[in-house]
Symmetry: C2
Subunit: 300 residues, 2 copies
């Protein structure tokens, strides 16, 4: 299907990572297959991180292989360091998402290093990457930090400018890790970031719905010209290192809103709803979103 | 507290009306008292309707009396007909909300008459009303109807123009009864309505969060200049005559979003949260909203 906006489905990574009970690899692969069948083309299938820190994602290498067999899919994997990027490349990943935080406190908590060290490490990774590797930067806590609160716009712009100078032809995703970004804040930062780093290939927005603002901020980003949105089927999600952070904005809510506005997502909502329902029903999952229950009945 | 926006708390009416188990009048009065203590000044305390159609609201006359004893409160009651307006006035109501629908099918289902008959009845009510009575029109299904789907803008504008010609110094509230209005639709209709009926004293917006768009559309209305917003503590709500319509946007979510944006609501969120929690815990209530759980812990 043709699409005006591109949804990056993150339930296999952001959604699954806080779930305690082990989700067998074959169940994850089945989710990938079903998600891809809805028309979703970009799926964040996992991350190369410490298995002791996030045990649920320790089978990401197997998922890279499985996703490569799904036609039309453009799977991406999260990496927090240049070393993990090597692992990802060795496992066959073709699209890396390098994550770092705008706030020192969150970067230390999440990655055990300073923001400056992450930037240096990112530069090292760029030197070592195959030339045809697709690349995104996930800038966590770009708006708000669980430890430091609201993040000022200016230092975020300075960080973006530094990252973009290292390699402009990347996608940069500004992430509302805590779900506390307001629509006006999202609009302000995107407008300023696009002006400050005009050479960036693409911009994306990653919303959490912790306080109910997931669609409000997604729409605010859309109004600023953003066309790539992270979302999680079933409204799953949450950062193990961001206390109180709960679900990503639900993919089914995002699809519903944009399709109602006449903006094609390329995703078949009818096909997505049962997948979202099954993701929400996984043991240990904290589900979110509203459209699923409204469309499938209140028990969904 | 000073306020830039005014929230109309509708849990006592829209929130309680679909609840089956009887909420004793003294419990309702206690909610009014606690809601007023949060700084909320406008509360929709009930409606004068058929006790057989909506048995939960059959004690509205007693609530009018109780609300009059709460200092600073500006309570409003819903009336669907001129005859019910007489009842409300006799019971001591000082602020009436006359409800009719933009869609024929919903007006027939909800009020058992045509839209034209409702307009005629509204004109009759105006002739009989005391001169100092405050007045609002709730235009249900202004964006979307559970039976007819999306409502075109032009006939809604024609209806608003007709109503405003009868008496301009009223507040008109455009209601997204089904929760299916999108942010762009809300912005479009408000902009067009304000241009078509410039003499209207005030405009208000009533959001449902059925599909997760409650804050997105509330923010869209704010951007168009709307400063009066309906919301329901605990995210309760739903129209018994609008199949599938669930909760109003949660008051605590609305307060959270606007206060985060630096826009004063006059409502103390700390005081509101336990009231919202208790409303959400009422037997038979279908709760909604996100901020409550995020701020009080996931069990709230």
């Amino acid at each position: 299907m043709s699409r005006v906006i591109e949804i990056v489905e993150v339930t296999p990574r952001d959604g699954f990572q806080p779930i305690g009970p082990w989700i067998p690899t074959e169940v994850k692969v089945d989710f990938l297959r079903r998600l891809a069948a809805t028309g979703l083309r970009r799926i964040e299938i996992g991350s190369f991180v410490s298995a002791s820190a996030i045990p649920q994602l320790r089978d990401t290498a197997a998922l890279v292989e499985a996703a490569a067999a799904l036609p039309g899919l453009r799977p991406q994997v999260l990496v927090p360091t240049a070393r993990r990027a090597e692992e990802a490349v060795a496992a066959g990943a073709r699209f890396l998402v390098y994550v770092l935080s705008a706030s020192e406190a969150h970067n230390q908590s999440n990655l055990r290093r300073s923001v400056a060290q992450s930037v240096e490490d990112y530069a090292r990774m760029l030197d070592a990457l195959p030339a045809d590797m697709e690349l995104r930067i996930n800038l966590a806590t770009a708006f708000d930090c669980p430890f430091d609160g609201r993040i000022a716009v200016e230092p975020v712009l300075a960080l973006i400018t530094r990252l973009a100078a290292l390699r402009p032809d990347v996608e940069i995703c500004l992430c509302d890790t805590t779900g506390r970004a307001t629509p006006d804040h999202v609009a302000e930062l995107f407008a300023a970031a696009m002006a400050a780093a005009p050479g960036v290939a693409a911009w994306a927005y990653h919303a959490h719905d912790t306080y109910g603002m997931g669609l409000a901020t997604t729409h605010a980003a859309y109004r600023e010209g953003i066309r790539i949105f992270d979302a999680a089927a079933g409204g799953l999600g949450g950062c193990p290192f961001a206390p109180g952070a709960t679900g990503n904005v639900a993919t089914e809510d995002v699809v519903w809103m944009f399709e109602r506005m006449g903006i094609a997502t390329g995703v078949a909502l009818d096909a997505l709803l049962p997948v979202a329902r099954d993701a929400a029903a996984l043991p240990g999952a904290a589900a979110g979103g509203r459209a699923r229950a409204a469309l499938l009945g209140c028990s969904a």
